[in-house]
């Protein structure tokens, strides 16, 4: 199939950026979206045009590196799918496709479709862990964990940290990301010990990173490639309230 791409080109963080039009010809519907871009890039190089810079690594939907907004939707039109797992059979011959970076104040563009998402790392650094050292821990079966709690923790822990939730939110809020980590750890006995401290520190860092606030639009859940539920946001709000009202002794 033949497509027309409108791609965001921006040389570096200082450049103002613009959309450029490129044809994408003879695209095989079995290609992934990123393979389509690879093919377009090979063509651009042959014409002496610098290739479109975009982030990707695992190309199997788990590392969270790939990140772009396709026709206004982070990761594109297919639900529960990262852009590296999106395939061209979801598009039609003759389609025009608009490709832009994830847009959010906390994710400045570095080049073309590549953004800086290190704010997410700093939020985890603020408390998204269990404070134990290597060694000296009890046997893995010493503390039974109810299967339901483990499954729910796993639902939250699946987050790949891609940032689509932020890009989809009109306030650029990071609540889904932060709540997933807060919930994952609070749901397990191993993480529950320091749950209050954790939620306060992580939310504090989130606020420091120019993310917006949550106004319950749920756009985040709709674009999340791992379909992480907004119920975790409600859980985090409860955790936060308890942390504020009943601080750790």
């Amino acid at each position: 199939m033949d497509l027309t791409l409108y791609v965001w080109r921006q040389k570096d963080a200082k450049d103002s950026g613009r959309l450029e039009k490129y044809p994408a010809k003879s695209i095989d519907p079995n290609m992934s979206f990123l393979e389509m871009l690879d093919v377009v890039n090979e063509g651009l190089i042959q014409q002496n045009i610098e290739p479109i810079a975009f982030d990707s690594d695992c190309r199997e939907g788990i590392c969270g590196t790939c990140s772009m907004t396709i026709n206004g939707i982070p990761h594109g039109p297919e639900r529960g799918t990262t852009v590296c797992q999106l395939h061209m059979r979801k598009f039609k011959d003759g389609d025009a496709i608009y490709i832009e970076p994830f847009r959010a104040r906390a994710f400045p563009v570095l080049r073309d479709l590549i953004t800086d998402r290190s704010a997410f790392d700093r939020i985890i650094q603020a408390g998204g862990y269990v404070s134990i050292n290597t060694g000296g821990v009890p046997d893995g079966n010493a503390i039974p964990v109810p299967k339901v709690a483990q499954e729910e923790a796993m639902d939250a822990a699946q987050c790949i940290g891609c940032g689509a939730c932020v890009a989809a939110c009109k306030n650029a809020s990071a609540m889904l990301f932060v709540s997933a980590k807060v919930s994952h750890l609070a749901l397990l006995p191993q993480g529950a010990v320091e749950r209050k401290r954790r939620v306060l520190n992580m939310v504090g860092q989130m606020d420091a990173e120019s993310f917006g606030s949550c106004t319950n639009q749920y756009e985040c859940e709709a674009v999340c490639p791992k379909e992480i539920s907004v119920q975790f946001i409600a859980r985090m709000n409860r955790e936060y309230l308890q942390g504020r009202v009943l601080p750790e002794a």
Binding site: P51, D55, C58, R59, H87, I114, S118, V130, M154, A157
Partner: protein
């Protein structure tokens, strides 16, 4: 007792001392831990270590060393340490917990691993790995890794290829992700505490030696293009595997050999480079545009049955082929292990039936992995619970629903058992240069068993390196060196020259086209099976590719900006040279063993035939210059606790 060594074909004599501790197998590690020197806690801050890589091996090592009080700098090429390719491991992690009461033990895990590796690994290393395996699970549980559990609240297990016990721990189909997030979070805690300085989007491009010791690295900031030097008292490479030498593999597109290959060119020995693993269950190639191959976890072989039509050229839809016309290849050939036969064996069986014209799918390069029997036995719900995300991934890529249609799978390059040579302390032959995780050669011999790489990466990082590195610091007094030393200036200059060279060629071919050509060649001539003729053909062609690469490459842009093509060019340049080394190793090893199958060396039934009289050694290669044959050093392998036997999975 010590892994003694011998040097042949030129090169200065070098003693390859594996430093295996004396004493009975079961006591070696305990004894060694006691005999190793300790660093005074008050002095730990003064020791500076660089860790390149933030996967399971790198992140666990960085976090643990920082907890102990060392001064750590950690580097990765991704934008966040959490994205290292360990994240993609699906199936699980082994540990000899014997929670299932099915007869597992440290010795059995050790035995299975040595046998699975086709008797080409060091007994002492493997035994230690099995010994610490249980602690890994405890550690991960304490970090909040949500491993699968039973209703009673206990951990549950699944079986994996090459084992008859159930010892694999898992977190749905995302075990690597959950383990890596555990290690990443431990690392984040140390970053927050100021004990680790993290450098994401930073690529190591050179190793720096001062007075024969590894003392630093030269890196490029991938956003600004800035080249800088970092000095330390020890360097740890945790940079993963090199399967991308085949271009198409299950690795991430950024996975590369640059860090270990630069070290090789600085004198580190590269051990068993031809021991590469082809994974039997990947989604087949769909066309020339293909940029990577996706693994379908081996755990699927617990419930999926592999089959092809009995008749060549049978083009009927799978449902239309009656039982009587199906060949359940693995169940027929290996009744004891059936669909759980080890990877090398399962891969070759698939290749063989495709070579016979019985392959399925449009390309004829595929076999069925069928769940219909499991769905009727267990219900679709249970199958969904076990493998839901894998089935979903399959459907996204192929557009086919595996609950209705059998999956089509085909082998793909996946893991590299070879890597930099290390001794029992995980130190290479260059003092101060340590290598952990997939980047070293240590524990898997000629074939790795499923769910054992995660175990090895975390064993190295959490429980082995933190001891042995301390011993290195305590027993060598590193002289003061900082990055103003002339060796750093020299290395930086070399790096800059190389980058400028890539940009100045302005030829006609893209980096990707060279990489694809190299990968095709390697897959055809040095892939699932190898012959003297095929390897000689590759060894003739690779230098031609290398020559054309340096003459006809086209990389646009400049070096002082974010330039993804330039990054790739450097990686492919190293892959081209590595490919030659792999083929040389494969040519010299005229036996078959594990993942290295020489057609000339097989049993009557077509199984790999080892030649223990001539090849019971680790082949460690020393660089002698580009285009020149490397020299071979041998570390003899001794088997005192397992009996060297032909592997039998029938």
């Amino acid at each position: 007792m010590d892994g003694n060594s011998e040097t042949s074909t030129g090169g200065a004599a070098m003693t390859l001392d594996a430093k295996i501790p004396a004493g009975p197998l079961v006591e070696k590690w305990e004894r060694h831990k006691f005999e190793m020197k300790l660093v005074n806690p008050a002095n730990k801050r003064k020791f500076h270590c660089i860790i390149v890589g933030s996967g399971l091996a790198g992140a666990s090592a960085a976090a643990t060393l920082a907890e102990l009080g060392y001064n750590v700098e950690c580097f990765c090429y991704q934008d966040s340490p959490r994205r290292a390719h360990s994240i993609a491991a699906q199936g699980g992690i082994n540990a000899a917990k014997n929670y299932q009461n099915d007869g597992d033990s440290v010795f059995r895990l050790f035995y299975d691993t040595v046998k699975g590796g086709d008797f080409r690994s060091r007994e002492a290393n493997v035994y230690r790995l099995a010994q610490v395996s249980g602690s890994i699970i405890d550690q991960c549980v304490a970090q909040g890794v949500p491993f699968a559990r039973e209703y009673g609240g206990n951990l549950t297990n699944r079986s994996f290829g090459g084992a008859l016990v159930s010892r694999t721990f898992y977190a749905r189909g995302q075990t690597g992700q959950q383990l890596l997030l555990g290690a990443y979070q431990a690392l984040c805690r140390q970053i927050d505490a100021g004990n680790v300085k993290m450098f994401p989007r930073t690529e190591m491009l050179e190793l720096v030696l001062v007075n024969g010791k590894a003392r630093g690295i030269v890196v490029r900031n991938l956003v600004t293009g800035k080249i800088s030097s970092h000095a330390a008292d020890a360097i740890v490479l945790a940079t993963g595997g090199y399967s991308n030498v085949f271009f198409l593999s299950t690795n991430a597109v950024g996975c590369n050999t640059t860090a270990i290959f630069r070290a090789y060119k600085k004198g580190a020995l590269f051990a068993n480079p031809c021991f590469t693993q082809i994974h039997p269950t990947c989604i087949p190639v769909s066309g020339d545009h293909q940029s990577k191959l996706t693994l379908m976890s081996e755990s699927l072989r617990n419930d999926g049955r592999i089959w092809v039509p009995k008749k060549a050229g049978d083009k009927r839809e799978p449902q239309a082929i009656p039982e009587a016309d199906r060949d359940y290849v693995l169940e027929r050939k290996y009744p004891t292990y059936g669909n759980l036969a080890p990877r090398d064996i399962a891969s070759r069986a698939a290749k063989q039936v495709c070579d016979e014209g019985r392959g399925v799918g449009p390309s004829g390069l595929g076999v069925y992995l069928d769940f219909s029997e499991a769905i009727s036995r267990l219900t679709e719900h249970t199958v969904r619970e076990r493998y839901g995300n894998l089935f979903q991934m399959y459907e996204k890529i192929t557009g086919e629903n595996p609950y209705r249609m059998p999956m089509r799978i085909f082998p793909a390059p996946h893991y590299t058992m070879g890597g930099l040579w290390v001794d029992y302390n995980l130190m290479s032959n260059i003092p101060g240069l340590h290598v952990v995780g997939e980047a070293n050669f240590s524990d898997h011999g000629a074939n790795r068993l499923g769910a054992s790489a995660l175990m090895q990466g975390l064993a190295d990082g959490y429980f082995i390196l933190p001891y042995t590195l301390g011993h290195y610091f305590a027993s060598t007094k590193p002289e003061k060196v900082d990055s103003s030393h002339a060796e750093f200036r020299k290395a930086e200059e070399e790096v800059r020259e190389r980058l400028k060279k890539f940009l100045s060629i302005r030829g006609k071919r893209t980096t990707t086209s060279f990489h694809r050509e190299l990968g095709q060649l390697m897959w055809n001539e040095c892939g699932m099976s190898r012959t003297d003729a095929s390897l000689r053909k590759a060894l003739q062609r690779i230098p031609e590719i290398r020559e054309e690469f340096w003459r006809n490459l086209d990389v646009l842009g400049s070096h002082d900006e974010l330039n993804t093509s330039l990054e790739r060019a450097g990686r492919v340049a190293d892959f081209i040279e590595l490919a030659e080394l792999i083929c040389q190793d494969a040519l010299h090893r005229t036996e078959s063993c594990g993942g290295h199958f020489r057609e000339e060396s097989q049993t009557e039934e077509g199984e790999a035939l080892r030649d223990d009289d001539h090849f019971c050694y680790v082949a460690a290669w020393e660089h002698q210059g580009v285009g020149k044959p490397p020299s071979l050093h041998k570390e003899a392998l001794q088997f005192e606790n397992v009996h060297l036997a032909q592997r039998n999975y029938k």
